[in-house]
Assembly symmetry: C2
Homo-oligomer: 336 residues x 2
């Protein structure tokens, strides 16, 4: 039988975790091991904080998702919130609830998945705690970032006439999840489907794009697609007291999303693309006169694609413009 975390205890697990992390950068004045961590603030910057959790059998299943992907995703969903504010990550905290039967190899893989993304995004893990869980594996992460005052990307800001842009191709995460739920083995997926699965398991937070857009004031509002594109469009409109119309023909559909819709059925590719959650793409509100500035920011940020998918208008409500007229935008994804 595999050795489990119960055989080690909290202190040995923390020592094990620390040994798998990169050394702290200089702005971390005190890292793991005291009552709390101490960070040096960046002069003239505001502090941005967010927390999000992954609960076994609600947000993931251990039988479906490798532990390293769970560790990656727990940090990624928080970094996506920082990206949506235009913030730069500075540190993170990790709170784990571990079932006594969790094999140590899974603990190690989870930490390694977290540590790899932590190193790649310069988000050192500076503290946290490890408790026993009577049932599910619990992972709660807090991410701390910094942003220049008056550059933060809030959700409020859309005005009638402004355009809605989205990064990447939404719905890939939901398509990947549908493949897992249908019990399709990884080696029976084609390359497009596998891309959806990767996007479900290892979303890449759009940190660089969010930061450049914020610094250059190239958008007036933003949020991430954790609850799907339809939800983001409707939220950005409602927060600003305006309406929004999504153009059905403009919504980008990844090949994998189409293929999953055809293979599994029940939902069209468009429904997956606008209703699927957990994408961790970003939605931006861009006034027409800032369009060229926004597209310049996108070019500077590397290989992220963006698509104009809708427009804000006077009034209220969220609508889908189809070839045969307008209908209410279907509701998005609900985590709860």
């Amino acid at each position: 039988m595999a050795e489990t975390v119960a055989s080690l205890g909290e202190r040995a697990l923390i020592a094990r975790l620390r040994s798998r992390l990169a050394p702290d950068p200089p702005h971390i004045r005190l890292g793991i091991g005291d009552d709390a961590a101490v960070l040096e603030p960046e002069r003239g910057m505001q502090i941005v904080v967010t927390t999000d959790s992954l609960v076994e059998d609600v947000h993931f299943r251990r039988a479906w998702t490798p532990a390293a992907a769970i560790g990656h995703k727990a940090l990624a969903v928080n970094l996506s919130d920082l990206a949506a504010m235009g913030a730069t990550p500075r540190a993170s905290l990790l709170s784990l609830g571990l079932p006594a039967t969790l094999p140590i190899a899974e603990f190690d893989a989870l930490i390694d998945g977290y540590a790899t993304l932590s190193a790649a995004t310069r988000t050192p893990l500076v503290g946290g705690n490890i408790a026993r869980s009577p049932g599910p594996l619990l992972i709660d992460v807090t991410a701390i970032g910094s942003v220049r005052p008056r550059r933060v990307l809030r959700r409020t800001g859309a005005r009638a006439g402004d355009e809605l842009y989205v990064t990447g191709a939404p719905g890939r995460s939901a398509a990947g999840l549908a493949l897992l739920a249908a019990g399709i083995p990884r080696d029976a997926m084609d390359a497009d489907e596998r891309e959806c699965l990767v996007w479900h398991e290892r979303p890449e937070p759009r940190l660089r794009l969010g930061r450049i857009v914020a610094r250059t004031s190239a958008a007036t509002a933003a949020m991430d697609l954790s609850d799907g594109l339809a939800d983001a469009a409707a939220t950005l409109a409602a927060e600003a007291g305006v309406g929004v119309v999504l153009d059905e023909a403009a919504v980008p559909i990844a090949r994998g999303v189409s293929r999953v819709a055809g293979r599994i059925g029940g939902r069209s590719a468009l429904e997956i693309a606008i209703g699927g959650g957990e994408d961790y793409e970003l939605a931006f509100v861009v006034p027409a006169r800032r369009r060229s500035r926004f597209l310049a920011a996108v070019r500077r940020s590397g290989d992220v694609t963006v698509t104009r998918v809708g427009v804000f208008e006077r009034g209220h409500g969220a609508w889908l413009e189809t070839g045969s007229g307008r209908r209410p935008l279907p509701h998005g994804f609900a985590h709860f």
Copy 2:
């Protein structure tokens, strides 16, 4: 049947939560409701962060502890970590995992317990998330504070000859828990026992004392007693590469602790006082030449009592000095 949280959903629960909170103070530039919160840093101060969780059936039982006390304690244990650093709280984040069957009245009570301590300690709740839990009630809190550079109270700092002080009377929380575990009804407890129960359910973080001691450099190290006095003494010694001797006769024993030891048996009052965890008292390392400065800080901080319970010495190990000689200090409390 009582209405449950499942009938509301995440957004309605968040709206309900917000309606029960005090308004945000000015340093909160953006509170609950966006992808992340934004805080104004205090000029010249460092940022202190900590996270700690309460998991149902590991840290509390819903049948034993009122929901308002659970909400209070979830924040208090984090504030105690800030107190142990000498930090001043600035904000908190709350991540909840709710069983679908949780009555809305319990949700409200939990939030009210949190909100009352949040208002009393000026620790505004600025963000978080609410997820479904497949089993236990989960509460994860992150607290953010500030501290003046070079004034932070670390765990490292003890030198041979320094004295160990503890606030209050340790073991009261463990005695309160023992009363609950023994099934003794609240109305069958005397006033001293009830005081132990209050200390178990609603610990008061020693924020004011921690802050004054840090500002006046009246101690060279500190930590909180979340894992008990023996654990704190041994940790403060080991972190500094010295030994420590606790004086059995000096350890303060609350009347309630003695009474519980007599009534329930199995552990002496001294064992409860040095081994019991979850007290959220503070332990301070005080060099003899700073003793008067430390005692002045204690007087300024109000009605907190402190007791000198031990001394650090050359060498290593943690010892208990008894009337009949020295023996190794028993191990403390383990959360995991």
